[in-house]
């Protein structure tokens, strides 16, 4: 096992375990830096997915790992959803695996515009986008949990 990875994992587990207040940890795609100790401290794993095969496949593995690790709440966040077909693909995938869906974020040009400008989505000028509204709703639902 790579020692660097082991250190990052331990650090993450210890940090998350002892801090107060909300913590949001942006993980490596494959959850490489989760240790067995991490789920004692992480209460929620959100797996972001787009409705296409490779994204769903990675998401499926993240769910399995999250379950193996015993994380109490594991939920999907559907992103870049353009239409009913997209939504149905996500529903089918999650339904087959009994994965709850916590957030639906529509495809939003504002996200691309913010990325192009190197700006935070929340700082993107102009009318507040559909994506921001959806993430805000997600934040509310997490707060209520």
């Amino acid at each position: 096992m790579c020692r660097n990875h082991a250190t990052v994992r331990s650090l993450l587990a210890e940090l998350v375990g002892t801090s107060r207040g909300p913590i949001v940890a942006d993980m490596e795609a494959g959850l490489e830096n989760f240790s067995r100790g991490t789920p004692r401290h992480v209460d929620t794993l959100l797996v972001v997915m787009e409705p296409y095969f490779r994204s769903l496949e990675t998401a499926g593995r993240a769910f399995e790992l999250g379950r193996e690790l015993g994380i109490p709440k594991i939920a999907a966040v559907a992103n870049k959803v353009r239409n009913d077909e997209d939504a149905q693909a996500i529903r089918d995938f999650c339904g087959a695996r009994a994965i709850p869906i916590s957030g639906w974020i529509p495809y939003d040009e504002g996200v691309l515009a913010a990325e192009r400008a190197g700006r935070a989505l929340l700082d993107q000028p102009g009318p507040s986008g559909a994506a921001v509204a959806a993430i805000s709703k997600l934040a509310d639902s997490l707060g209520a949990a």
Partner: protein, 111 residues
């Protein structure tokens, strides 16, 4: 509330993490964002200028030390409290978020 966000690269994981951290921070009066991915994108997603995001301090490895836990097992544990770590190595981001970037992982196999 301790949330880990995962997903394939490019799905919007970091944009969602950054936005979520700020929105939760507004509600709770502060939040900690942890960049566990080895790239500086979370800083940009939180709203730090790109130039600053490219040169962020990282949490050094020596904040972990080997100790024996109650069961007598040797474990890597924090040498500082998370608050001390956030104070020393964190960066202020908008909406009261404190950002911690975990050390970049070097080449695979260096360990």
């Amino acid at each position: 509330m301790r949330i880990a966000v995962a997903g394939k690269g490019g799905v919007g994981k970091t944009t969602i993490s950054g936005s979520l951290a700020r929105l939760l921070s507004r509600r709770a009066g502060g939040a900690l964002a942890v960049d566990g991915d080895s790239n500086p994108n979370l800083a940009v997603a939180l709203g730090l200028p790109q130039k600053e995001a490219m040169n962020l301090p990282t949490v050094p490895r020596d904040v972990m030390e080997r100790r024996f836990d109650a069961a007598g097992e040797e474990r890597l544990m924090l040498a500082l409290t998370p608050e001390e770590i956030a104070d020393r190595y964190g960066i202020d981001a908008p909406d009261g978020v404190r950002l911690l970037v975990l050390g970049r992982v070097g080449h695979a196999g260096t360990g």
